[in-house]
Structure formats: structure tokens, C-alpha cells
Symmetry: C2
Subunit: 272 residues, 2 copies
């Protein structure tokens, strides 16, 4: 029992692994130390102890705080970095990931112009209203039936570079549902005024950071209303993308249904 020697005031007779760094049921109790540290870090992120874009304490500092070695903290941070929840910068520190950065911008928007150009898409807000969550939406978002939700409908438009740069063509029609409680205060005005990624607004104004999403893709025929908005013929093939986004703790906080016009764009994916 090596660590009792140089750590006199440590919780004495416990073996290193069982050593309950974590107070209670936050971690599965008998998990490796670095997993417990990882859980503590996620806890801190969830609690808002460190905001997106900010530095977290240094590895040595965290090691001292939780009475583990720097290597153990390092391994916990390593995993959170590969999961894109933290970003390491040599010489500067470790930062909480944010959707403000350019890199993160295209982590969730997988649509790319066929010619490789990627000029930022224009947004046009069509609707933003509070309502009772429809049954299926409530179920997917983990809400009770009839709880408040916010629905947002918007268009993303690309400048048709090949011809007239000023000419905008609709490419994406998005329908979003958000839980009403955490997103209290989300209005059309707020959305209109915002410059920058939507998920960055959610971080900054509603303290909700998206860390992961699951998507279901299928090809569908454009219904009349949606076809009109996308300026395509009714019945045209469209790519339907249904997304469920999660925040810290794997809580689903956004349901989104996108219809993509893939005539001049495609959805890119990498299989590893």
C-alpha cells in the first residue's frame, strides 16, 4: 500500500481503487479511479462550474484537489477530449468545448456543397412558437404529455455561386422542438437577432451545450407545403434527417427534423 506512506492524511485503510474520491452514487462505485475523475469532470461541466470556451484548472491542480496522480487526471481528460467535450491546447490549458469555434461548426452540419465550397448558409426564420409538446415529441424528449415545448421552423439558403452570387436557393428546411422549461425566453426576436451558430446561442443564453446527436436518414418525396418552401417540385426526392441531440448526462434536449435538397449538396459521413 504505497500511497499511505507519502499521503499521511489520506483516507487511510482503503485500497487505491476502492478509494471513494466520489462522494456517493455519481459513479458505479467500483469503477477505475480515472473513470471517477471523468465523472467528476462531467459533473462540473453539467453544473456550469466551467463555462464553454473557458479553461478548466490545470492537471496538477485537479490532481491535488481530488488527491490522485496527474497521470490519472490526464487519462480522464484524454477520454473527454476524444469525446469532444474538452479541448487540450499545449502550453495554454484545457478548455471546455464550445460551438463558437470554427472547427465545431461542421461537426453537426454534415451537408456540403458538391463543388467543395462551403460558404456559410444564410438563415431565414419562418416560425417560433410555444406550444404543448405533441405526444411523439414529448416521448422522444422525455417530457410529460402536454408539457410546454418550443417549435422552430427555419430555412437555410445557399448563395448559388455558379451563377449569381446574390441569388439565394433554399437547401434545408428545419423543424425543431425544444423542451419549454430550459428554453424559457426563446423568442423569434432572440433568434432573429442572433448572429452565429444556433447551438452557440443555446450555450450562451440557455446554458445548454449539445455534445452528441443521433440521426436517422431516409429519402422521402417532398410534400406540397415543404416543396413550396424549398422551391422544388412536389414529390421531388429529399433527404430527411431526424436528429435527437443530447447534452451533458445524455439528456435529450432537441428533436429536429430536416429536409435537405441534395441536388447540389450532399451529406458527408466518415465510417471508422
Amino acid at each position: 500500500m504505497l500511497d499511505n506512506a507519502d499521503m499521511p492524511e489520506a483516507d487511510s485503510p482503503l485500497s487505491p481503487v476502492v478509494r471513494a474520491v466520489v462522494p456517493a452514487a455519481v459513479a458505479p462505485a467500483f469503477s477505475p479511479l480515472y473513470q471517477q475523475i471523468k465523472a467528476l469532470l462531467v459533473q462540473g461541466l453539467q453544473a456550469g462550474e466551467w463555462q464553454p470556451g473557458q479553461v478548466i484548472p490545470s492537471e496538477v491542480e485537479l490532481a491535488a484537489r481530488w488527491r490522485v496522480s496527474q497521470g490519472t487526471v490526464r487519462k480522464a481528460i484524454d477520454e473527454l477530449a476524444t469525446e469532444n467535450m474538452l479541448v487540450r491546447r499545449q502550453g495554454k490549458g484545457t478548455f471546455v468545448a464550445t460551438h463558437a469555434e470554427q472547427e465545431t461548426r461542421y461537426r453537426f452540419l454534415r451537408l456540403t456543397a458538391d463543388d467543395g465550397s462551403a460558404p456559410p448558409l444564410q438563415r431565414r426564420l419562418l416560425e417560433c412558437r410555444r406550444m404543448r409538446a405533441p405526444a411523439e415529441v414529448a416521448q422522444r424528449l422525455g417530457l410529460k404529455a402536454g408539457e410546454a415545448a418550443v417549435q422552430v421552423r427555419r430555412l437555410l439558403l445557399a448563395s448559388d455561386g455558379a451563377r449569381d452570387a446574390a441569388r439565394l436557393r433554399p437547401v434545408v428546411l428545419d423543424d425543431l422542438w425544444l423542451p419549454g422549461t430550459p428554453f424559457k425566453g426563446l423568442t423569434a426576436e432572440r433568434l432573429e437577432a442572433w448572429r452565429g451558430p444556433l447551438y452557440r446561442l443555446f450555450e450562451a443564453e440557455f446554458a445548454i451545450h449539445m455534445i452528441r446527436a443521433e440521426e436517422k436518414l431516409r429519402a422521402v418525396a417532398a410534400p406540397a407545403e415543404e416543396a413550396a418552401l424549398l422551391e422544388v417540385a412536389p414529390g421531388s426526392p429529399l433527404l430527411s434527417v431526424e436528429r435527437l441531440s443530447y447534452t451533458y448526462g445524455d439528456r435529450p434536449v432537441e428533436l429536429r427534423r430536416g429536409l435537405y435538397d441534395t441536388q447540389a449538396h450532399h451529406y458527408r459521413n466518415v465510417l471508422n
Copy 2:
């Protein structure tokens, strides 16, 4: 210069990082040791020193062979494991990833039945012929114009579980192009006879292991011929999936175009 003390016959006056474990230009020369070790491991995989499914030497043995610490080997293997090229099994050893395992089966086939059921799809070979690679195929596969290629066309069919289990419905129409030279000897008979994943056949018979793929997805209207094969109405929306697959040295070795009927299935994706 700590290592000269206990490693008398090592290449003496070099700092640890520059220490050329790697003979020549295989690694960028001034990369971290563990990256050089990683390159050596990939080299061994590419050369077929260890076959898919087999164990590679233990960490201590590799450390001894390349005169580095076990921790350095460990870090190299860690990265290759997260890249799915190696699989660690506690107490047993580290294995070369293979497409034979059940886990790997759905790493490249992202189509899922809407009801969650995932019975293996039936295959029906439609065509397998050798030909000169069309210009675009040659370009994508890195072949010279007019070089030999193999084209394969096949259907994947699902048993329509809800109604009649015996009734098979076509779900995927795949067109594959493979470089002719490495795939010499690939015939319709060989394909018909094979039970198991296609990529496993490539490993076993042609020593080509797929490690990564890029896909471009779009919604298209079914052309007449393809519609007939998929038993859908011409013009029906289909999900088009264009895939470029890579083997060890990031060499593209398969171009594939799939048309998916997404009426009862969807393409699932996870954004991290």
C-alpha cells in the same frame, strides 16, 4: 540524457525523441517515439506480418524489440485501438481487427430496420465482371486510365417480418468497383460460394482489409432499371450512398454506389 546510461549499445548521442527507431523515411523523422512505433505497427499490418483475427506480440515483447518502454508501445496501441485497427482483450492479448466479428459487422452497414430488428440481410448476386475501369472510377481508385477493374452488382433483401417471414423484399442495390490487380481471381462463383461478410472475403482471399470509408449521401429519384430491381415505382425517392473505402496506407480500394429503399429502413448515424 538518461537513456544512454542503461542502454549502452543504443544509437548514442541522440536525444530520445530523435532516436531513429525507424530506419528511414517511413515516419516524418521528427515525430514522437510512440508515433514511430505506431507507424511500425501499421507497417507490420500492411505487410501482413500479423493476419486479421490473430494476436500481435505482447506489449513487453514489442517494447523489447524496438527498445522503447512498455508505456510507449501502449500509447501507440491505444491509438490504433481507438481507430479500430487493433482490438485489446484483457488477459488474452491484442488482436488485429477483422470484419469476421459480429461487432464489426454493422460498422460499415448503417442501414437499420425501423422497428429495430436487425436480421441479417440476404444477398443476391446480379453481376460480376472484369472490365477496364471507367474514367471516373479509375480516378477515384487511383488507377491509370484503362486499367483493369472488377464490377459487382448485387441486391440485399430483407425478410418482411411483419407479414410473411418467407417473403423477401429488396432493400439495397449495390454497385461495386474494385481494382483488378489486387482482386485478381474474384469471380461470381467465388462470391456465390462465400458465406459471411463481403469484407471478410476480401481479407481472407485477397489480403485487403478495409479500415475506413467516406460516404456521400443524397436523395434521388429511382431510374427505371434500378426501380425494377428494387421493386419500387420508377421515380420513387431512394437514398443514394456513394462510398470510397480505404485500406492500411489510406489507399482507396473500393468504390461503391448503393441505392437504399428507405420505406421500412433508415440510415443511422451518430454525431460526436
